[in-house]
């Protein structure tokens, strides 16, 4: 599904990723952990195609095809969805209009089809309908923003869902909702690459594999027991492995 091969990435002349390799197979859930500034978000944004992150070496393969140089909208159309750590605000654009446009572009749905899908999904996920009439993320709390990201992911049903710290800045109830959407999509066959600093969301998930990034390199890859060790001893312990 996703194969990251010896990826080196720089931002404004500073090398952040120094040779990352990682393979997520179809239907797998992988977790990437690491201290602040280790390059976790850079990895997520580079796979999604952010223009500020320049690939200086290595490749990103998606379903066997090289997507390293594709524009972000092309990657989205192929089935990659990034849930942002900091979703942006767009003044004057209502959530419903935005979602309709996303579904038109990514799923080819007309406005009415999209409308029905959106309303059903909102009910299913137990979200507040009034959110749809608000402007995109304008005045949204951290938790509301993350929930809206999950609603989008749930509507789009991507092949690969990348989550950049979905558990930062959210309360316990929001965290449960976010985890349940990840599980639903995962059960339906979506591959997941989840980036987290804390690991508290992992109580609700069953990862296949956990990777630890430090200073732009993967320093450990193992089963879920790695999480426990980090929680008990901190990231410093990983280096000693």
């Amino acid at each position: 599904m996703l194969k990251v091969d010896n990826l080196r990435v720089k931002v404004e002349d500073k090398e952040i990723l120094k040779g990352i390799s990682l393979t997520v197979d179809k239907g797998e859930l992988h977790v990437v952990m690491g201290p602040n500034g280790s390059g976790k978000s850079t990895l997520a944004l580079t796979i999604a195609g952010h223009p500020r992150y320049q690939v200086i070496d290595g490749r990103i393969l998606f379903e066997g095809e090289d997507i390293t140089n594709l524009p972000p909208e092309e990657r989205a159309k192929r089935g990659i969805f990034l849930s942002f750590q900091h979703p942006i605000e767009v003044e004057g654009v209502k959530v419903i209009q935005f979602l309709q446009r996303v579904l038109k572009n990514l799923k080819g749905l007309d406005e009415i089809q999209a409308y029905e899908l959106i309303f059903n999904a909102v009910q299913e996920l137990g979200l507040d309908e009034s959110m749809l009439a608000r402007f995109l993320n304008v005045g949204f709390s951290g938790g509301e923003r993350k929930k809206l990201e999950m609603l989008q992911a749930y509507l789009v049903k991507p092949k690969l869902l990348i989550l950049d710290e979905p558990d930062s800045g959210v309360d316990v109830d929001s965290l449960k909702m976010i985890a349940s959407v990840i599980n639903k999509l995962h059960e339906e066959g979506t591959s997941v690459l989840l980036i987290t600093h804390y690991g508290r969301i992992l109580e609700h998930l069953k990862p296949n594999r956990v990777h630890v990034i430090k200073e732009g390199k993967i320093v450990a890859s193992d089963g879920v027991e790695l999480v426990k060790m980090i929680e008990e001893k901190g990231f410093a312990a990983v280096e000693e492995l």
Partner: protein
């Protein structure tokens, strides 16, 4: 339904020029060129078979034009040699126009391509269409005529209702204001005269549509709208021109008089082609408890100067001025609004939204003045600029003057830029750069779009989408 398919065709077309095509030479009955002299003005007046008082009005304005200096803040117009322009150009009409079918085919087709006859049928109370210097079509639905509403080409009103016209013409926006208002009064031709009697509410908008048919032409149409006590009217102005070589110059004027308790909404959607230099003179006098709302949407043209103005003359008079200016490409929009508070308890609101892209420049120039004695008056001004790339610019020159201690002026200004992160977020949702830009622009002006009828919102949305798709080419 054919009405629908026509609208769809317009919405789907690649650009406005695609709809209008390249200008074709057409037979002109009369064309005045050359020096702007007493003889030119006399000749114009003679052709129009005007009463003596109007000729005198023109000649007085001409004298002022010669005396007045070029306004210091005007950029661009002095490059135009006014004397090389066709100052009056009357399209040749074979017979009296009572229906669209009575118009010469090329003129009719221009309006049809813009869907004007359909829009008229569907949801207007009346329509005036101006081609070059003359009103070529003017129809008011019969039911409204019976209520005493008058809608005529300006020239006809001069002849048929001289007393009514004399009372207002040039009184709201006098010729002596500046060089271009003087030029306008000397050479005015075409435009609409609208009178709404006491207490009459016009349920559907009245529209005037202006087309400049060829290059090196001056258009000086004059619209005079009088809303008598307690009446209501929404007037919509649309402007368009096909592409041609060389510049054309537009120096139009709108005078509005809102009597006690009247409500006037005046909406302009200007989408001139890129070789029109557009100068507007728009002003309303607003009496006791009356309300005037301006919506000024400037999309097209090479350079536009427009500042809808409200004079709050009577106690409790109110006004709102919404100004949207898009400069996409190497063009200049010098826009704004002016408000004078001359009576107690008056209120005003200016909302300006400018968008600069691909090297475009927007200048906001505003004036709010509260006179001593205009007790408890309030004014709010908000100026928002959106700049879509590094090459584009926006400037604001607000001028607020409050001479009344119990009154207040609140001013807010913001400048927003399209950040890489915002664009990336939208890209990552399958929305391409051009589409993302038009989405952000439409969101930015959504507050103003809400006040417009559905059909116009759809057309305006499409125009903005086209603006960005033409230049796009990324991805």
């Amino acid at each position: 339904m054919s009405e629908h398919s026509k609208l769809e065709e317009i919405l789907k077309a690649g650009s406005l020029e695609e709809i209008l095509g390249t200008a074709v030479p057409y037979p002109k009955e009369i064309e005045l060129k050359g020096k702007i002299s007493r003889e030119t003005v006399e000749e114009l007046s003679r052709i129009k078979n005007e009463p003596e008082w109007m000729l005198r009005h023109r000649l007085k304005a001409l004298e002022l034009f010669e005396k007045l200096p070029m306004p210091k803040w005007v950029v661009g117009i002095e490059e135009l040699d006014l004397e090389s322009f066709s100052l009056y150009s009357k399209p040749e009409l074979e017979r009296e126009v009572k229906d669209w079918d009575d118009l010469p085919e090329n003129i009719r087709r221009t309006f049809e391509r813009l869907n004007i006859p359909e829009i008229e049928k569907k949801f207007l109370s009346g329509l005036t269409a101006v081609f070059d210097s003359e009103s070529v079509y003017s129809q008011l639905k019969e039911e409204f005529e019976k209520k005493g509403i008058i809608m005529l080409p300006m020239e006809e009103a001069v002849k048929r209702y001289p007393d009514l016209v004399k009372r207002y013409f040039g009184k709201v926006f006098p010729p002596g204001e500046h060089k271009f208002s003087a030029l306008h009064h000397a050479l005015w031709s075409g435009g609409a005269f609208v009178y709404i009697p006491k207490g009459v509410r016009v349920p559907f908008p009245i529209e005037a549509f202006f087309v400049i048919g060829s290059a090196l032409e001056g258009q000086f149409e004059h619209t005079l709208l009088i809303a008598d006590e307690g009446s209501y009217v929404h007037f919509i102005e649309g402007c368009s021109a096909p592409m041609y070589k060389g510049f054309s110059f537009h120096d139009g004027m709108v005078e509005i008089y809102a009597h006690k308790g009247a409500t006037v909404k005046f909406t302009t959607i200007q989408n001139w082609s890129r070789n029109v230099i557009n100068f507007n003179n728009k002003r309303a006098i607003i009496e006791e408890n009356a309300y005037v709302e301006w919506i000024e949407g400037s999309i097209g043209s090479h350079i536009t100067y427009t500042y809808p103005s409200s004079v709050l003359k009577g106690e409790g008079a109110r006004t709102a001025q919404y100004v949207v200016s898009l400069s996409n490409g190497p063009y200049l929009k010098d826009t704004g609004a002016k408000t004078w508070h001359l009576a107690p308890n008056t209120s005003s609101k200016i909302v300006s939204k400018s968008i600069s892209a691909n090297g475009g420049i927007n200048i906001y120039r505003g004036l709010v003045r509260i006179a001593k004695g205009a007790k408890n008056s309030t004014a709010t001004v908000s100026c928002d600029s959106l700049i879509l790339d590094e090459k584009s610019k926006a400037y604001t020159y607000p001028h607020n003057q409050n001479d009344e201690p119990s009154a207040s002026i609140i001013h807010e200004a913001t400048t927003g830029r399209l950040s890489e992160d915002k664009l990336f977020y939208l890209n990552s949702r399958g929305i391409k750069e051009e589409e993302a830009k038009s989405l952000i622009v439409l969101g930015f002006i959504s507050e103003i779009l809400e006040g417009l009828p559905f059909e116009y919102v759809e057309v305006l949305k499409k125009v903005i989408e086209l603006e960005f798709s033409e230049i796009g080419g990324v991805g």
